[in-house]
């Protein structure tokens, strides 16, 4: 083989790569490019006017802000959950482990109406909060809850495998050198987990920014207060304002591209840190 490095034994390269590129272009790349074609045809100033309208800016602030906060909350509790699943034996561990993926499998609309039923003022948790004068559903707090729900598995599932691969010998060595548990966690375990934790954070954030189904029921969709950016696109479409909808979509697409780039870099870093090929 070494003498013939350019010779291919296996067939099907042209066919499969050709089909892959064709299918990818027709279904994903060409359709996505229409967003930029349409935005460009409207002109730069028109685009800026759309993207900086007060109601649109408020929706961007809510979508990005709530997604950031939800990812941060999930980073803390997701790490604790991953730690519990890997380090502790407790009854029902396997079931908890399987159900972590529920937000991936449960359709977003189902999650949306279930969360609304729980947190609305008539709901089980919502009525308790209402007694103390707190409203959760139909406020930005409701948006946050929905985004926490859909983001949790991203953190657990990126941290968990790294935690399982962690060399026990490191901790044994640190212990024999006199380190305390907390010191070991802070100085040995956490630095190893950090790239995976950040990857999970970025994945949860990326998913939450564009999330629609689980949010719109619980958000209440009050202009300037609890309207998310994807809903603004739908609202503009319903008013037949195609340029307006496309302008917002262009901003969100650019954010997706940037996030995808960051996630790829983080994953490469994470793979290097734990000494594994991607």
């Amino acid at each position: 083989m070494a003498s013939l490095p350019r010779h291919q034994v296996l067939p099907g390269f042209r066919l499969t790569l050709g089909y892959t590129l064709l299918y990818l272009s027709l279904l994903v790349l060409i359709p996505l490019s229409t967003v930029f074609v349409k935005t460009a045809s409207g002109g730069w100033e028109h685009f800026v006017a759309i993207a900086t309208a007060p109601r649109v800016l408020a929706s961007f602030r809510l979508s990005f802000g709530a997604a950031l906060l939800a990812a941060a909350i999930n980073a803390v509790f997701g790490l604790l959950l991953a730690w519990s699943l890997v380090r502790y034996r407790f009854p029902g561990r396997k079931i908890v482990d399987s159900l972590i993926d529920l937000p991936f499998a449960l359709p977003t609309a189902v999650a949306g109406i279930a969360l609304t039923a729980i947190y609305s003022p008539k709901g089980w948790v919502g009525s308790l909060a209402a007694d103390h004068g707190i409203r959760i559903a139909f406020t930005p707090a409701g948006v946050l809850i929905a985004l926490i729900f859909i983001g949790l598995p991203f953190i657990v599932r990126t941290v968990q495998p790294v935690l399982e691969d962690l060399e026990v010998e490191l901790e044994e060595a640190a212990t024999s050198l006199g380190a305390q548990r907390w010191q070991i966690f802070r100085m040995v375990i956490f630095p190893t987990l950090l790239p995976a934790l950040l990857t999970g954070f970025a994945l949860a954030f990326a998913r939450a920014v564009g999330e629609y189904g689980s949010v719109i029921f619980i958000a209440g969709n009050i202009p300037m207060v609890s309207e998310i950016a994807p809903l603004m696109i739908i609202t503009k479409l319903e008013q037949y304002d195609y340029t307006g909808a496309t302008g917002i979509a262009a901003v969100m697409l650019i954010a997706s591209f940037i996030l995808l780039f960051i996630i790829n870099s983080l994953q490469a870093w994470s793979a290097r840190r734990i000494g594994r090929k991607i």
Binding site: R87, L99, A105, A114, I148, L152, A174, G210, P230, L253
Partner: protein, 304 residues
Amino acid sequence: MSGATSLNAAQVASLSPARHYEDNPATRDRPWVKWSILGISLAFFAGFLLLPLATVFVEAFKKGWDVYLAAITEDDALASIKLTLIAAVIAVPLNLVFGVAAAWAIAKFEFRAKQFLITLIDLPFSVSPVVAGLVYVLLFGAQGLLGPWLDAHDLKIVFAVPGIVLATVFVTFPFVARELIPLMQAQGKEEEEAAIVLGANGWQTFWHVTLPNIKWGLIYGVVLCNARAMGEFGAVSVVSGHIRGITNTMPLQIEILYNEYQFAAAFAVASLLALLALVTLVLKTLIEWRAALNARDHQQESAS
């Protein structure tokens, strides 16, 4: 967006003799630390994941079995179930064929910009579902690029079944490819090359050598792809036009019922999708268990 949605390699490790962190003084946490972490994380799990799941079934059966049965056998509900099945039956095989082709090209051959291609395949995961729906409206809608041409030929894509299928294909695009690419890369190409050298043709090689090796990853990708295809809401909502009984999938039917304050009926249809989610999770656990057993057998074989 791998990691979170791919076959969990960690499960494979957990089948091998359990490493007892709690028996090892160096990895054991103090009891109060253990119970605090366990308590907090399980409370979070119960509050954010179990509670919504339980709520779906409690609300669905609140008004009794008769109301439940009536809600899911009503004409519009049945039509929405049928449309959801149609969309999945078309979208899943399309993405299955694409996933196998892409994984074959990427895992078995070297070419430039391969990593970039993998990133592009991942793209639909990080695009908002609403944007995914919008792009098809921009292409095929009445005011879209191809709108006038479609209109002249009396073809309808947006606000009709083809649009729903397209949107479903888009959002489930990477699932099978994402599952197979790392799996086939890890397996290398020696076995296939041996088959070809021994005189098998490409198709025989794929069918008898590659497919048995990637079986579990393939099934896993299809299961996830199907769950997402049947549950997609945002993208489908944009292209559907919400015509009752004609272009409503199950998630859209849930939205309509909910907005009409028919909560019991909305949760009844939702409970069917929640059941699908639970079946998906059970299948996922079984497949991971099988894949782990296979991996262990494989290790023992190569060790002996």
